[in-house]
């Protein structure tokens, strides 16, 4: 074992409930310590993702977030505190993560993930978690993860609804079929104005906690490797009816990333004209 990865007595006690788990154990906890996870956004989804990944002992977290904390965030973005209003979310999240688990290294980028920096930011990550709040970033992150051959856990919120899925589009299923991309599920974003954003439609705060925790769980699964995750399955949560359903979806040969036709080979389509 690499001595740099050896656990201190404090870490062994801290992670005891993971280490006794048959499917995690010491080796799984070592994988978490050695892992780097990139989290896009420290909002409603990013907050629980960051807290649970830090608590789980992911060795290095990279956070990309360009926003500052506002009072209306605090109904769901549980990583921030009232006294953080007005501070950059990267600073606020950094304080919370440092207080929760000093064994976690946090790298912050107080910027928006864009076509120019996405591949560089993703390059260092073993797993990417998308908790962003807009379609442009979601399609950019998912395209970039395919190009960079990185696993992506993507969760999204809308009022009383949430979705979570895991993408490993650079790998194949046991039968040799390529795993699906995000564009196999959602080829195109809805036209502007047809799906209201959280600011207009609202979002149930505790639902962000459910979906974000599930996204963190999927990221931990991607690092440790246990059970059956959400590759090829979209988990849909209807908090009004308290109904959880999964839609199985497969590789679409018409998808523009790994399909049989013309393919997207760079992120130039995502460059925004200032």
């Amino acid at each position: 074992m690499d001595s740099a990865m050896a656990f201190s007595p404090d870490e062994i006690e801290r992670y005891a409930r993971h280490i006794v788990l048959h499917d995690v154990g010491g080796p799984g906890q070592q994988k978490l310590k050695a892992a780097t996870v990139l989290v896009v956004g420290a909002g409603g989804l990013g907050a629980p993702v960051l807290l649970y990944l830090a608590a789980a002992g992911v060795g290095r977290l990279i956070l990309v977030e360009d926003d500052v904390v506002s009072l209306s965030n605090l109904q769901r973005q549980v990583i921030h505190r009232t006294q953080d209003v007005g501070r950059p979310k990267t600073d606020s999240a950094g304080d919370a993560i440092g207080a929760l688990n000093p064994h976690v290294e946090l790298v912050t980028h107080a910027m928006r993930l864009d076509a120019g920096n996405a591949l560089d930011l993703i390059a260092d990550a073993d797993v990417v978690v998308d908790g962003s709040d807009n379609f442009a970033t979601r399609y950019l992150v998912s395209d970039a993860c395919v190009l960079a051959k990185k696993p992506l856990v993507t969760a999204a919120l809308g009022a009383f609804d949430a979705t979570v899925t895991t993408l490993r589009a650079h790998e194949t299923a046991p039968d040799g079929t390529p795993n699906p991309t995000y564009r196999c599920l959602f080829p195109e974003p809805p036209p502007a104005g047809t799906v209201p954003a959280c600011a207009e439609a609202g979002v149930l705060g505790a639902l962000a906690g459910i979906a974000g925790s599930l996204a963190a769980l999927e990221a931990i699964r991607a690092v440790v490797g246990f059970g059956e995750g959400l590759v090829g399955r979209l988990l849909m949560i209807d908090a009004r009816a308290m109904r959880f359903e999964t839609l199985s979806y497969g590789w679409d040969p018409d998808n523009p990333l790994t399909g049989t036709g013309d393919r997207i080979t760079d992120l130039s389509a995502h460059v925004r004209i200032p």
């Binding site: 989804l45 809308g158 609804d161 599920l185 959602f186 799906v195 009816a241």
Partner: protein
Amino acid sequence: MPADPQSSPRAPVRVRLPAHLVRLFPDGETLVEVVAGDVRQLMDALEARWPGMRDRLCDERPAIRRHINVFVNGRRARLDTPLVPGADVFILTAISGG
């Protein structure tokens, strides 16, 4: 005893609709049961129940709108995709909140 959905030609299909869509219609529901032999008939049935819904889901070609995703038993569907009794139909759009 309830009929076996696989053996009854009149057994409905189960259809899930996007929440942000059904909120636009009086008494809209996200989970409905519809008797339909294909996706086109399903759209007709939704239109009969909630006038105007078909235009939200289909364009003038006619075809399913590009941002609307219809999956039947886990496979992407078109208007001519047949529906067997008891089929699971998901009609969904991406959501983006974070």
